[in-house]
Subunit: 340 residues, 2 copies
């Protein structure tokens, strides 16, 4: 049985989306066991009359609620009975629990995970690795997308090792093509950080480093994962999502400017719905935190049931593929310098 | 008469696009005088029989060609007779020449401009400021988009002052809304650089600082310019262009998957053409270099005639609005620390 905690609060559509996503995941994965954290009375009432395998779902009462402007360090200290912090504590204390999914505050989750769960052996800094769809029909991972705004070449090498193993083990990508985000494709481009990282990546065994990538090529399908500092990774992911959504919104608006466009759009209705669905990050699950000693998946705050289900599936696959053990094996081949 | 140099080589469509763009600009602006640099025989042959005001155009012979993989520092030292380096020298030496437009190597142009032209008084680092269209029908400037991969809070403040004046004087944007690119909207987000820059920007007079901007909101129309380090600015601009182009390409491909879509698309043909045109950066001119003592505009390497014409127009407006003088006045209000 694979045991995963689902933090049922903290999202825009919580707890309904969290519950619905949990029940779908349970129905699809026969060896999945879920532990839902949150206010027991609310969760019980919502589950009343629903059809699911009661032997594979339990509720852990955690009545406190985290406000969106609370400081991450205060949250783990003061909100011990919140669905997130209690979940993280359970994850730490119970050996047989594999991972946790949360759509709550990113800052609080990262802090709680780092302080309470700790890192895999040899990992200097855990990093987020969200997945985006490419226009070629595949996917691309971005590591780090915001857990570490400042990084060293050594961190970037670890991000490359971790994201390569993630793509290979969780998404079955063979020999993932790993790129370094830079301002140009040539090896000598960028600041000292990128130049140094480029050299390290070239000499790293067991990763298929294909050189620098310019951000305009992210969706080209030529790369399986791109490594970067958390600041520019955050810009990369949010700009991609933002531009796609804004452009589709503009097209939708423009359609209403002339009758002939409206007729044309009517014929293409299904196609437009598919494009929107294609760019909907909810379908690609959450941003997994690579490098923590247990699995932590952060779903978007606006996650609906389908996104929650994907997050649970990601956590499940990370566990069954023994991703953590594989990351440790590769990372420990290199000497890494701890931060001061 | 406003005198501007047009470097006629170095682009994908050079020299034809450069010549065509120059002649359109001449026809539209009666007090514009252009100096075309490049191989005289080629330029003369191309101009033969064309209809333009001969009294307002001259050619300066510069036969050397810059290869795309030449080192910027080598270029200015060894390619003195190239259209770019000779243009920059003319710009430096002739008081009555206001600026220069080039679509050649970015690195060589920045290096040549910094070494030969120098900076406005008080400016620590000149920065690129390209313009993108927003989905609300306006424009947004990004400063810096790649001239400085590493910056300090002081640099970011100068970028804010320069881009604000640029938007106001060249694009008639009243009281431009200036934002700081960050990983979240709250004031305490980001690394030390962003936190420190936020404080400086809050206390800078004569700019309308509206706080942090997340990259997903770049095209929202809520901001007139965003300041950032050149690395993440480069990611921001190229991701926006890349995503929009890839998405339009995908839509085009998907249209051919079903007959009904093809019929629909036929009715919407003009709209799709307009969307493509709307996202075509060629229509928004080049990336001006803010902070040099004379005007330097860098057009995209793939610039066609319309883009060249826009670049000339940008250079012209920067001169007539006395942007340089205005930047000096504002910048000199603050004590800035020179780089080592």
């Amino acid at each position: 049985m694979i045991k995963i905690i689902v933090d049922c609060f903290g999202g825009d559509h919580s707890p309904d989306a969290n519950i619905d996503g949990s029940l779908s995941a349970l129905a699809k994965m026969p060896d999945l066991y879920l532990i839902l954290t949150g206010d027991e009375a609310i969760l019980k009432a919502k589950l009343e009359g629903r059809d699911y395998d009661h032997a594979r779902l339990e509720i852990v009462h955690a009545p406190e609620v985290i406000g969106c402007d609370e400081k991450p360090t205060d949250v783990i200290r003061l909100k011990k009975e919140s669905s997130m912090v209690k979940g993280i504590r359970l994850l730490r204390d119970e050996d047989e629990i594999a991972g946790m999914v949360s759509v709550g505050s990113t800052g609080a989750l990262v802090t709680a995970a780092l302080v309470r769960i700790g890192r895999l052996k040899g990992v200097i800094r855990p990093a987020f690795c969200p997945i985006l769809p490419t226009m070629a029909g595949g996917i691309v991972g971005i590591c780090d997308s915001g857990a570490n705004v400042e990084v060293t070449p050594d961190h970037l090498r670890q991000f490359a090792i971790m994201s390569s193993l993630y793509l290979e083990n969780v998404y079955n990508v063979k020999n993932p093509r790993i790129a370094l985000l830079n301002v140009g494709k040539e090896a000598e481009k960028g600041d000292d950080l990128r130049k140094e990282a480029y050299k390290l990546l070239e000499t790293t065994e067991n990763i298929n480093f294909v050189g620098n990538m310019e951000s305009r090529d992210l969706l080209s399908g030529n790369y399986d994962a791109v490594v970067c500092d958390g600041f520019s990774g955050n810009v990369l992911v949010k700009t991609t999502e933002g531009t796609a959504l804004e452009l589709l919104k503009k097209i939708k608006k423009d359609i209403f400017s002339r009758t002939i466009y409206k007729i044309g759009a009517l014929l293409m209705k299904r196609m437009f719905a598919e494009e929107k669905e294609f760019m909907n990050y909810q379908n690609y699950g959450g941003s997994v935190l690579l490098g923590t000693s247990k699995v932590v998946v952060k779903g978007h705050g606006s996650s609906k049931a389908v996104a929650i289900e994907k997050c649970i599936e990601q956590a499940y696959r990370m566990k069954v593929s023994e991703l953590g053990e594989k990351i440790e094996t590769e990372i420990l081949k290199y000497e890494h310098y701890e931060d001061a």
